[in-house]
């Protein structure tokens, strides 16, 4: 069964942390991903660039509106994700607890499944 760990971080945290500390954080996360891979639990992993490099889009009444980042009202953003292969929510939570990012942001644990269930 697939679960996703989504890293939810406060907007502005990366800037406050700075590049050098950020690189150390990134390396710790890479180590975590590698360990998951060795255990045969990892299906995918990506780090996500900042909001200013992204955009939001809505189609309403047939018209597409694009809003460029950063988004003034956003307090939180998704910083990255791990796609895992574990049997239960408890196992996913156990891995979330091992994730270094749990120390400085929130790890949201979601089961993979259809949106209509």
């Amino acid at each position: 069964m697939a679960y996703m760990l989504m890293l939810v971080e406060p907007v502005g945290q990366r800037e406050e942390r700075g590049v050098e500390a950020g690189k150390l954080v990134y390396d710790r996360m890479l180590g975590f991903a590698e360990a998951l891979k060795q255990r045969g639990l990892l299906r995918g992993v990506e780090s996500l660039a900042g909001l200013e490099k992204g955009a939001r889009l809505q189609v309403r009444d047939g018209t597409a509106r694009v809003l460029d980042g950063p988004f003034a009202e956003a307090k939180e953003m998704v910083g990255g994700f791990f796609l895992l292969d574990v049997a239960t929510l408890d196992e996913a939570l156990a891995l979330a607890a091992e994730c270094p990012a749990a120390e400085w942001c929130t790890v949201e644990v979601r089961q993979v499944g259809p949106c209509w269930a």
């Binding site: 045969g40 992993v45 990506e46 660039a49 292969d85």
Partner: protein, 424 residues
């Protein structure tokens, strides 16, 4: 629209085959693999612009090569390097000083067609340069020689795309900063440099081989990529026995790919695999490569020995027909050539089959204080197996439980706990 799609697919296919040659050919001109890759990418962009309108050329590789080399000449002129480089470039000198005529460049391309093998070889050795960290060599090799995109490499190795991009950028910078020459190492350096290349290729193969059923398809595709690189290498340096040894090993291991996983996607041990699912074509290719290796006098090379071991299994119609004495003898030679506790452990398994579990246990027991095996789950696994066959069930169960605690891999832990449970 259908034509556009078909053209794009054709371009993708051509790129996979030709990318390495184009990069290699340009690298010889500009002496920098990073720049060479950029210029090759420019040629690809040009192909994406022109081929949908003009059609795919009859010789797409030559078109790409010509376009990339044109850009290279432009760049060299712009950067005023030609003054320094004209001696190195030899025949290209006139092209630099004259206005470049398409026919002239065509002639250049044709004249150097025979050299492409040398250029590819230079590219291989450069990408696997010992200055670079192993992950960097792997990423650069897949990029420059495999023609894989950054995201494909990332998915194949289950690392973020940003990490792969970083590794490649840093690798190119390291090579440029150290002014690593674009050349095939000379005889005195050849052996260790070739060993580094073979190590990279086998690393790529093993990464693909360790992929499981639910993984992204890029992962098992790495085996094909490694095999392709190995075969190309065998064609470029046909006189090197260990290259054929590695190719033989990969062909034989790959032959078992369809028998390795059961219906649920769990790994099946070699001795329990359905041998009718082993690929006879790959087995035959493996034997041919092994024979080439032996005819070059390379039977004692590490890859050759591992290939010979794989061949022993491939030859047996069923597990019961395995020539264990021969396997034990091969491990004895491997233990002389590349001694290590792991090799000794494997020898213990073979001896346990050839001469009985007591003989195997004697070898394993001698390894129990080996520090490098202290956290290696296969040591208690093997010991448990031998003890079980000697009827020492209680001790066997303890070993399987110890092994289960040591392995970080879920599927293996499950298997080991099952074995522990089954040992009354």
């Amino acid at each position: 629209m259908a034509t556009l799609e078909a053209t794009h697919r054709a371009i993708d296919a051509v790129w996979r085959i030709e990318a390495a040659k184009v990069i290699a050919g340009v690298a010889r001109m500009v002496r920098d693999v990073g720049l060479a890759e950029e210029l090759a990418q420019d040629a690809l962009v040009a192909a994406l612009e022109h081929w949908p309108k003009d059609g795919v050329p009859d010789n797409p590789g030559a078109w790409l090569m010509r376009t990339a080399k044109n850009r290279a000449l432009d760049r060299l002129r712009q950067e005023s390097l030609h003054a320094k480089k004209h001696e190195e470039l030899g025949a290209d000198l006139e092209a630099l000083q004259a206005h470049v005529e398409p026919d002239f460049v065509d002639a250049l391309v044709e004249a150097s067609a025979d050299d492409i093998g040398d250029d590819l070889l230079r590219l291989v050795f450069t990408a696997c340069h010992p200055l670079l960290a192993t992950e960097a060599r792997v990423a650069l090799t897949l990029r420059l020689l495999g023609g894989l995109a950054t995201d494909e490499i990332a998915r194949a190795f289950l690392v973020p795309e940003a990490t792969v991009a970083q590794r490649i950028v840093r690798a190119k910078r390291t090579l440029a900063a150290a002014k690593v020459p674009f050349e095939v190492p000379d005889a005195s350096e050849r052996a260790p440099r070739l060993a580094s290349v073979l190590e990279v290729v086998y690393l790529i193969f093993n990464e693909g081989y360790s992929a499981t059923a639910g993984d992204d398809w890029m992962r098992p595709a790495l085996c094909d990529e490694a095999l392709r690189l190995g075969r190309v290498l065998a064609g470029l340096v046909p006189g090197e026995s260990e290259v054929h040894g590695l190719v033989a090993l990969m062909e034989l291991q790959a032959s078992r790919a369809h028998a390795r996983l059961d219906a649920e996607g769990h790994p099946v041990l070699l001795l329990e695999q359905d041998r009718s699912r082993w690929d006879p074509l790959l087995i035959r290719r493996g034997f041919v490569a092994l024979e080439r290796c032996r005819s070059l006098g390379g039977s004692r090379g590490p890859y050759a020995l591992q290939a010979a071991l794989a061949a022993c299994h491939a030859e047996a119609r069923e597990a019961a027909a395995t020539d264990w004495p021969r396997i034990a003898a091969l491990y004895a030679v491997l233990a002389e050539v590349t001694p290590s506790p792991v090799v000794e452990l494997n020898r213990a398994v073979a001896v346990g089959m050839a001469e009985g579990p007591q003989a195997g246990l004697a070898i394993v027991d001698a390894l129990r204080d080996e520090p490098s095996l202290a956290r290696y789950h296969l040591l208690p696994t093997v010991r448990g197996d031998l003890l079980a066959r000697l009827g020492r069930a209680g001790e066997a169960r303890a070993e399987f439980e110890r092994a289960a605690a040591l392995t970080r891999n879920q599927a293996e832990r499950r298997l080991l706990l099952e074995r522990a449970g089954g040992t009354a």
